[in-house]
Amino acid sequence: MAEYKRLFALGAEFDNAADIYHAAEKVRDDGYTKWDCHSPFPIHGMDKAMGMSKSWLSAFVFLCGLTGFCTGLGLVTITSFGIYPTMVHGKPSTWGDGLLALQFFFPVMYELTILFSAFGAVFGMILINGLPRFHHPVFNWSRFGKVTDDKFFIVIESSDPNFSETKTKALLESAGGKHITPIYDLED
């Protein structure tokens, strides 16, 4: 049996969105940085309550979309003008004329822009979130399973510079947290 040794974080449970929202504001005002609010659904305004900035995923998706567009443009032009000039319907088939008559190629570029953006959005989100990650110390806390049902949790990590087992516990208590529990990391 492995032993639970290293303290990973302190967790507190809340019963509703309003409580965790205000608790989050308190934790934010105390200057914590390595902590998170776990909830069954995204809580409106929680980013602000936690002092988080806007997600930068959109910038990544924009780059993906641009890549998709360029891929589409390259695919249609290189194959139709370069590798094997396709002469159909008397449409321009050389680089010089062809680049001025790109409108027929638009749907392919359009669809590839969307396709690449979608891949960027989904896999970008998964990567930024550090998923898939099947083992995480919070799962060692038996009450945590309720996070996907109707309970709300604040988890403050011990690696936070402000972290102190007593002070953090007091903060979570004053913020209305219940079942304040130390969460241990699994060590071999």
Binding site: N16, A17, P42, I43, K91, I114, G124, M125, H136, V147
Partner: protein, 508 residues
């Protein structure tokens, strides 16, 4: 436990969900999206019970009824591949017949799912939350049925990969100026993006199933699919952004897909096809037919799982019926405008003839079936009584399903049968292979949907939770900080009218 905190919200009139008032601003009389002020736990229990309970008898009956029908698809397509495309009834000049009709029919049905998940999301129509999962699933299954047809229509199915830009020994590339190739890109992108969108929506709900799973197999299965989701706000932040972006890019995508499908026709020089009205007309028709299919699936689901009534409320059915009325009227307008342009405005003899033959030629009854089913039958939805009678709604939806198929056949069939020269006109009758392949796609569609209902939450649990009053941390923008209590949901087990408890539902 704060579960027992009292709520200051007065118990609403149980009939309030039916109240649609034109006089009041929506802020004044808001119909709750989840009826009976259900708690978060109630939502979890009552959606997951569908996947967790013992398989019900009706499910097995339905499964053994429809899965053999689904087997018609691989059987008859193998027969077609073995014997050649001649086993279908189409021939010159009828090169596109039931196959392309069914392709357009199925792809159109898919569009309602994307409309609900993307366009209604962008327009902040929160009622979409309880129907988006099932309709997105419907989209995927419909697109699967659709994608079969163009692949097998090419005749030599084993060469269908020529559709994709893969370098081959001929050194020849695709003609990227062809709408048929645009279709390949549009439909494959549409399917891929729909799968991604659907899966992203599923992640938090798969985590719910993972956390509730009792058996090891389920824990592993749902656990792997849930990617280790922990519901942290640092994850939700990117998750919501990804969802918003997906909605933002799916909207132009869904509009482009059916526009491009319509380009297959509109860019040709066949009378009756060569028209600029096609893209908007096809998109409206797709949404129209798709909503009818959503209701076709959701109404029986509500009947089988009565607890869904509180999430897919009468109000939802009412709204969908209104969308059917609106899009049906747009489609009706398009039919009449098309007729006007062809018969009166264009002054083109062939256009005139194409439409004259549509209404009075060999396939006249298809035309009138289309007109009745798509334009006249949804008009009953002007009446509130009709919209709130599920039997009427269901029957009208069946008319619409049939009508949208007739529409595609009318566009494709009547036009090809009688184009320019009477000497090259030709009649068409579907062969038994085509008929049974089409029946088979319905079996496939329903079988896939049954499997979906059984193994995945058919309601988006986390999104429905997010639209309950309990999810709102406070009132925006002028809500004070002292009014939280009033937005609490009633605690689980409080004296709210009980429709079905999960335990009762499971005992069915």
């Amino acid at each position: 436990m704060a579960d027992t905190t009292t709520t200051t919200a007065t118990p609403e009139d149980p009939l309030a969900e039916y109240a649609v008032s034109l006089e009041c601003a929506p802020e004044v009389k808001k119909i709750p999206l989840v009826a009976h002020e259900r708690s978060l736990n109630w939502i979890t229990e009552n959606v997951t019970v569908i996947c967790e309970e013992k398989t019900r008898k009706w499910w097995w009956i339905a499964f053994f009824l429809f899965s053999p029908i689904a087997l018609l698809v691989p059987t008859l397509l193998s027969y077609q591949v073995a014997n050649g495309v001649g086993v279908w009834g189409e021939n010159q000049p009828f090169g596109w017949a039931w196959d392309i009709t069914n392709f357009v029919f199925w792809i159109g049905i898919g569009h309602a799912g994307t409309l609900i998940s993307a366009i209604l999301f962008l327009t902040r129509q929160k009622w979409r939350t309880s129907i988006n999962r099932a309709s997105e699933a419907m989209t995927l299954f419909a697109v699967m049925c659709a994608a079969l047809y163009p692949g097998f229509h090419v005749g030599r199915f084993w060469k269908a990969w020529y559709l994709f830009p893969i370098p081959n020994w001929n050194g020849i590339w695709q003609n990227y100026r062809s709408p048929l190739l645009w279709d390949v890109f549009a439909v494959s992108t549409y399917f891929t993006v729909s799968v991604l969108f659907w899966y992203v929506g599923l992640i938090p709900d798969l985590a719910t199933l993972r956390d509730r799973a009792k058996s090891k197999i389920k824990q592993w299965g749902y656990g792997i699919a849930a990617l280790g989701w922990r519901g942290g706000n640092r994850h939700w932040q990117h998750y919501e952004m990804a969802y918003l972006i997906l909605a933002g890019i799916s909207t132009p995508l869904v509009l482009s897909v059916h526009s491009i499908v319509s380009f297959d026709f509109a860019t040709s020089v066949i009378p009756g096809w060569h028209t600029t009205i096609f893209p908007p007309y096809f998109v409206a028709g797709a949404i129209f037919g798709g909503f009818a299919m959503v209701l076709t699936l959701m109404l029986p689901a509500r009947l089988l799982y009565p607890q869904l009534d509180d999430m897919v409320t009468r109000n939802h059915v009412d709204k969908m019926a209104k969308i059917i009325l609106l899009t049906g009227s747009i489609v009706g307008y398009a039919y009449l405008m098309e007729l006007f342009v062809a018969m009166v405005y264009s002054g083109n003899f062939y256009e005139y003839n194409a439409f004259f033959n549509r209404a009075t030629g060999w396939y006249w009854w298809h035309y009138f079936a289309m007109m009745f089913c798509n334009v006249i039958s949804p008009q009953i939805f002007w009446s509130k009584k009709a919209r709130s009678n599920y039997i009427v709604v269901f029957i009208v939806c069946q008319f619409v399903n049939a009508g949208m198929w007739y529409e595609r056949f009318v566009i494709i069939g009547t036009t090809l049968a009688q184009d320019f020269l009477p000497s090259s006109w030709g009649h068409y009758t579907p062969s038994w292979v085509e008929v049974f392949t089409f029946i088979g796609t319905f079996g496939m569609f329903i079988t896939l949907f049954l499997l979906f209902m059984r193994f995945l939450p058919m309601i988006c649990i986390f999104e429905v939770k997010a639209v309950t009053p309990a999810a709102d941390p406070h009132h925006h923008p002028h809500g004070g900080h002292d009014d939280h209590g009033s937005h609490e949901a009633k605690p689980h087990g409080a004296d709210v009218p009980t429709l079905t408890k999960p335990s009762e539902a499971a005992a069915h």
